[in-house]
């Protein structure tokens, strides 16, 4: 190979110029160590969130009201497992193995989205997760699809395509409840009341608390700031909810005619920090369930690991 010798400064300038031109960075390209680390951290947390995200809804599969809802929910949960696999693979192209990331999750060293540490006591929670949580996830993921790292952006396109089904089934489920009995409508509103602020938190710490934002933007790791994403989500979802008579639990929520944006009360970011660090309502329950599933699935993985053909043997 004819790879010319270059100084760090030359390489960095080339890397940043490529991103400024809107070109993607691909595996094998030179990249600053900090870019690699930030992406491994982001993609890893994203993958863990998909895997842990199966749990709050998965528990409703045996109790889904009706066969069609049950099949839909199974398909949705399967999608989340698939998203986790796609994301672990994207992170692997940066040099960290899937095994290593899974171990970190099981050992409790890895972080994942705050929002999956809240309980799902009613069927309406399944609807609200589809509508709000997957809605916020799509706002975030559409941004990542425009990000600078090729494998992550490509994975996002596929994931967003599937998430739009998640949002629609959530809306359909919840709207059916809203037009049902008074008790069902109340159940839907109650779910919104419990999930509204955790979903706002899901889009991350406020910009004033994001010290590396400028660099992450320049490197195309973030295309929009957390506060921009949060505003985009609120503007999108508030008119949708109101149109079917659901109201977010915020007395200070109004459309600012001048800016065209909805004014809303910020969530409690100390709660976000606490839940992310392991001290939320269901963190222990989620990790226990994940470890149990890992242990109970071991015999399946061991059976699968035995290659039946010579092509399974690693190349020498």
């Amino acid at each position: 190979m004819n790879v010319p010798e270059k100084s760090y400064e030359e390489r960095l300038a080339g890397f940043e110029a490529r991103i400024a031109r809107g070109e993607k960075i691909e595996p094998g390209d030179w990249m600053p160590e900090e870019y690699r680390k930030q992406l491994i951290r982001m993609i890893g947390q994203h993958a863990h969130s998909e895997i842990v995200g199966m749990l709050p809804e998965g528990k409703w599969i045996p109790h889904a009201p009706g066969f069609r809802r049950k099949l839909t929910l199974i398909a949705k949960v399967q999608d989340e497992a698939g998203h986790g696999q796609l994301l672990y693979r994207a992170a692997e192209t940066l040099g960290k193995s899937r095994e290593e990331m899974l171990d970190e999750l099981l050992e409790g060293k890895a972080k994942y989205s705050n929002v999956f540490n809240y309980p799902t006591p009613t069927w309406a929670d399944v609807g609200i997760i589809g509508w709000l949580v997957d809605g916020a996830a799509v706002v975030n993921q559409r941004m990542i699809a425009k990000g600078s790292y090729g494998p992550y952006a490509r994975a996002m396109k596929r994931i967003c395509f599937e998430e739009s089904f998640h949002i629609k089934q959530g809306q359909d489920l919840l709207i059916q409840m809203v037009y049902g009995t008074e008790e069902q409508k109340q159940m839907a509103q109650d779910a919104l009341n419990r999930w509204w602020y955790p979903t706002l938190m899901m889009l991350g710490m406020p910009d004033t608390d994001s010290p590396h934002l400028e660099k992450l933007r320049r490197w195309g790791v973030k295309v929009k700031s957390n506060d921009e994403l949060r505003q985009e989500f609120v503007d999108l979802v508030v008119p949708q909810l109101r149109s079917v008579g659901l109201n977010p639990p915020d007395d200070d929520l109004y459309l600012n005619e001048e800016t065209g944006h909805w004014h809303f009360t910020q969530p409690d970011y100390t709660e976000l920090k606490r839940v992310i660090s392991g001290d939320g309502p269901c963190n222990k329950e989620r990790m226990d369930a994940r470890r149990k599933a890992h242990e109970e699935g071991r015999w399946v993985r061991q059976a699968l690991a035995v290659a039946k053909s010579k092509r399974g043997v690693p190349a020498t």
Binding site: V306, S309, R311
Partner: protein, 95 residues
Amino acid sequence: MNDTQLPIWEVFHQEKRGAPHVHVGAVHASDEEMALQMAKEQFARRLDCVNLWVVREDYVVKTNYEDPFFFARNTDKKYREVHSFPSPLKGKRRE
């Protein structure tokens, strides 16, 4: 025991007969049968698909993005391109 780090297989997806096989991603699997099953679940669950290829990632030979010379065209090779021969028949008709 290391039982979650299976070999990696690149996946190529053909949407319909006559279409090219397009690289769509990768799966982890211990052998080709499992790789095809995983590829089907991961990449052909919703989209139309008539054929899948899986290739062990370590058998894929790649060029280096950092090599500026590999794809460079230092000499004029326009003679290879169709546009070098604009409408050869135009105005050349012999009675």
